[in-house]
Symmetry: C2
Subunit: 232 residues, 2 copies
DNA sequence: CGCTCCGTTGAAACGGTTCAACCCACGTGG
DNA sequence: CCACGTGGGTTGAACCGTTTCAACGGAGCG
């Protein structure tokens, strides 16, 4: 396990552990556990006691809420190097949402007590943790803005531009989730998403080919995302 | 200023500083500044550089986002003892929302650099900060759930029950904000809120008398909040 | 082949917003 | 003292985006 932690530290960017000293990794290596999950497997449920948190090693994890009628709202999608479930380490309230492996996934699990002890000793680790949580709060604030202040075309445009920003080729996007999942991420349903995608295609803003999307008119998308234009 | 910090520490619960030692307060007292704001005055704008954060001493502060058409979504309402703007201390991204004094308000301002230095030295303070931010993330997750998974009657019911939970008399509530503000908090508009309040009144669930609301049928409200019942 | 899952399309229904009018309490100034 | 304007709150009718329900096509797979 020690080697794998070093591997992780060397090859994958883990914001939580950025800039830590080698001896930190040795300490971490002593306490982490590796867990693996099959596609669709639930990692934890809302309300479960949070006795530790996770770091994605490979695969993808979906954090989501679910209504009494079964509609789901995705809060986060996490990939390799990202951590989730940390919140519950510091609140006694249990996990605030569900976590599920979207594909076959392996995670590192860090038990609560050990980690709290590490953090208590080490201000640098605490600072990293504060940075990660601050960033997450920032994202939540943006998500709330999107969900409550924009209509679906606006949210979709914002998401496409966001994807474009972190894609190797900013014009050619590859959706990392199914369109059903994308709908849940945008707080809507597959039918609505489908309609809006085809509308945007008809207007020449994008070209949607399965899970690949080409961006044709970025300025127009930007205006829709900002709520300056409505979609005809 | 030193005395006021000690006052604050002794008489008001500040989650951020809970359980700290007297010498911490002495250090804090050396770096804080007191600022006051008139009713309606803006404390910071979205995007402003965050070179410090605030603790409400007296009054009430509203944290909110605003759409291009002017519709506002309230993210938080903070009263005495609560802190806001801490996120920006750890992200270089500026404030993620607006802050405005809802009434005449005084705040303590803690400059970024000094506080980071304090935290770096003191794991206990860092742990408190992590707890506060974790709690806030938890609340955000709930807010997102409310906004995207529940309809307005559900959100309103949840809010009324929440108020009931922290009211001296659980049956007789006093709204701490105007109904216009409450609408913004629930992610809707005053008209809709007014209609739903009167519907609930007609059904005998509540009795709304200006800013005072009596809860008559808590179980029914609970079912609406949970999405188990729809409102006729 | 028949099954399921995903995505798409159409028509009807719904919840919420928009727009407009109105009431009432309150403060101001003639 | 009353006329007047103002802001918060309420109500009604039309409108709009989204969801719902239903049906269908295609891809993948036993």
């Amino acid at each position: 396990m020690l080697e794998s932690m070093n591997d992780l530290g060397k090859h994958t960017v883990i914001p939580l552990f950025e800039g830590l000293q080698p001896n930190h990794f040795e300490n971490l290596a002593r306490i982490v556990l590796r867990k693996s999950y099959r596609r669709g497997e639930i990692i934890f449920m809302e309300g479960d006691e949070g006795n530790g948190f996770y770091i994605v090693e490979t695969g993808q994890v979906k954090i989501y809420k679910i209504s009494s009628e079964g509609k789901e709202q995705i809060l986060h999608l996490f990939g390799p190097g990202e951590s989730f479930g940390e919140v519950s380490v510091f609140t006694g309230h249990g996990f605030p949402a569900f976590a599920k492996a979207n594909v076959g996934t392996t995670c590192l699990f860090i038990p609560r007590a050990d980690f709290v002890e590490m953090i208590r000793r080490d201000p640098a680790l605490a600072m990293n943790m504060l940075g990660v949580m601050a960033l997450r709060l920032h994202r939540f604030a943006d998500l709330i803005e999107d969900l409550s202040l924009k209509e679906v075309p606006g949210r979709l445009s914002a998401y496409l531009l966001y994807l474009s920003g972190k894609s190797p080729d900013p014009e050619h996007l590859e959706l990392d989730v199914s369109k059903n999942q994308l709908a849940a991420l945008l707080g809507t349903i597959p039918e609505t998403l489908s309609r809006i995608l085809s509308r945007m295609g008809r207007l020449g803003l994008i070209k949607s080919e399965g899970s690949r999307i080409r961006i044709l008119d970025r300025p127009a998308l930007q205006k829709i995302a900002d709520g300056e234009t409505r979609i005809p």
